[in-house]
């Protein structure tokens, strides 16, 4: 039910990512309770919802950080099993985690290349090559960034976020998960990330964008999936809804057509 009408805008038949009936529980808490979402090539799908709605948990199921208890994930129509982050990376799924997930005590280049280090023929780490490549990506993200030799623990929140973004975009991802990618960024850096998202999209990469900034989402996303208490309320085409309608879905947990006049009045009151 989620994306039937939305598919009409996309000409491709097989989605890049399909997550079907995904469930994740922590003890008795059903953080993700039967969610179905999909994503096409060159598409940005915004994932929105209140705090604790289950957005990060759903994305972590796709990135291998926390495999789902049940449900099916298909990439290019093929069922896949993603049991750890390495599996996801093998499938060209890159993630910017809400927590950033940086190794605090090594520098930015080591973080960008963590787990995929550049080595010389003899298998030694080629730190200069990694630093050089990191300078290049960072030049695109945040030209003011110069702390290439500093432990990332002593960087500012926004600089750390830039490192996390650099790590996700460097390795030719096919699928990008961005969980609050601009939460710590200043206006100029946010604009840069928006431009980056548009460019990646034009390169055919599929992007899940989790954000609380509804204007950001409306600006960047093609479709918007709304989560409420672990479930998908609905997935809508950005062009067919208003910001208020989406806010209503986030807060009330109902699709626009199900919302009564009384509830709407309360929302605005």
């Amino acid at each position: 039910m989620s994306s039937g009408e939305a598919n009409m805008t996309t000409t491709e038949l097989v989605p890049l990512v399909e997550m079907r009936d995904i469930r994740v529980a922590f003890g008795g808490v059903h953080a993700v309770d039967g969610c179905t979402v999909d994503l096409y090539r060159g598409e940005v799908v915004g994932l929105v919802g209140g705090n604790g709605a289950g957005k990060s948990t759903l994305m972590r199921a796709l990135s291998g950080a926390h495999p789902p208890d049940s449900g099916e994930i298909r990439i290019d129509g093929q069922p896949v099993s993603i049991t750890n982050p390495r599996d996801a990376k093998t499938l060209a799924i890159e993630t910017i985690y809400q927590t950033l997930a940086l190794a605090d005590n090594v520098d930015a280049p080591s973080n960008v290349f963590l787990g995929r280090e550049v080595t010389t023929r003899l298998g030694s780490l080629d730190d200069s090559a990694m630093e050089s490549a990191t300078r290049t990506v960072m030049g695109r993200l945040n030209p003011n960034f110069t702390a290439f030799k500093t432990q990332v623990k002593s960087l500012s929140g926004g600089q750390r976020q830039a490192v996390a973004i650099a790590r996700a975009v460097y390795f030719n991802a096919k699928i990008l998960i961005m969980d609050e990618p601009t939460a710590a960024l200043g206006p100029a850096e946010t604009a840069q990330v928006r431009a980056l998202i548009r460019q990646l999209k034009s390169e055919g990469i599929g992007i899940f964008l989790v954000s609380h900034d509804i204007h950001d989402v409306f600006d960047l996303a093609d479709r918007i999936s709304v989560m409420y208490h672990g479930q998908i309320v609905g997935t809508v085409n950005k062009d067919e809804v208003t910001i208020d309608q989406v806010l209503g879905m986030i807060i009330l947990g109902k699709r626009p057509e199900e919302v009564t006049q009384k509830e709407l009045a309360k929302l605005h009151g």
Partner: protein, 439 residues
Amino acid sequence: MTEASGITGAAIRGPSGRSPRSLLRSIEIDTRLLGMIGALAIIWIGFNIMSGGLFLTARNLWNLSVQSSSIAIMATGMVLVIVSRNIDLSVGSLLGFLGYTMAMVQAIWIPTALGLGFYQPYTWVVALLVGVLLGAALGGFQGFIVAYGGVPSFIVTLGGFLVWRGLIFQYAQGQTIAPMDSTYALLGGGPIGSLGDVGSWVVGALACAGIVYSVIGSRRRRQRYGFPVRPTWALVTVIVAGSAAVLGAVWIANNYFWPPALATQYALDHGITEPPGGLQIPVGIAYPVLLMIAVAIVMTIIATRRRFGRYAYAIGGNPEAAELGGINVRRTIMLTFALLGSLVAISAAIQTARLNGAVTNLGVQNELDVISAAVIGGTSFSGGIGTIPGAVLGAVVMQSLRSGMVLLRVDSPTQDIVVGIVLVTAVGLDTFVRRRATR
């Protein structure tokens, strides 16, 4: 960007002026390491004054180097274990067990059980190989339980501490296994188990060449990408200071001579007539010290230039992030224990060779010395912090304290009290300095 002219790199590095600290930074030498060298100098000079000049003699320093080597070797492995947020309490017992096994291989299994006879040319290699492989397997087994079983390393290795020691007592029945193979015994050092003067100078020259090569090589790599490099004077300072230290150490080792009785025996055996003052044969660098230097170099490369080392540090900094970054955290942790296990075997060989036999209390309390050496050397239990050269220096500091107090005839309980206080003070100071630095 800052990749402009590299020659005056000091100016590029930061806004700070030419304070002593920024000078040190442009040399790119770890200030903590320099601090430790300073502390060591104070300890040495202090003991020398208190002992009336007995401490800073070629003989005492040579002995110090041999005594430090076995703990230093294990401490380099302990660094990676502690850096990735674990601990290994079993090293002393494991050392006993491995030393015992290697002694059995050369004193009983090869010569008698297999009937191949004593003093075969391959005996020492087989014994050492068995020890190193068994050490890696047993260390790796404990690491497996820690990493894949999720049992805290404190508990697993506390168990190992009891089990390995218990096994020695069960199988040795209080017996000493001796003597060791004659080639194997050279690993223990002593006048015969040393390089002599020519060999020591050759090693010293090679080490100087190595310093020049690595310093210039890393500068070349950075230049190739147009990164800032340290200024030429800093480069020269590092090379000169490093080479001076190496050659000075060789000079000291060559100024320690064979004991007169041994020299007389040597003269008799080789038909040399002894000169009036007795034959002066320079001892040179001892084999265990050479082994320790080799291990320290290899471990430094592993820790700083290989994936495995980088992963150990990343895990220590933030285990969850390391996992999310795609690192195989469990395998890395298991391997840190396996690596330490194989280093324990090398130390076990040195100790059994020195004793020329295996006794049941071999390696008792070594875990404490090894952990202390790593920690005094700047390894932090909060994970992600620690260096190999620091741990080696830590082992030398520990051994200097012990042997200095022996020279001053301090009794053993008092020695323990002093070492305990120094350990806590050193770590306390280190934590204090670190906290101020990050503020």
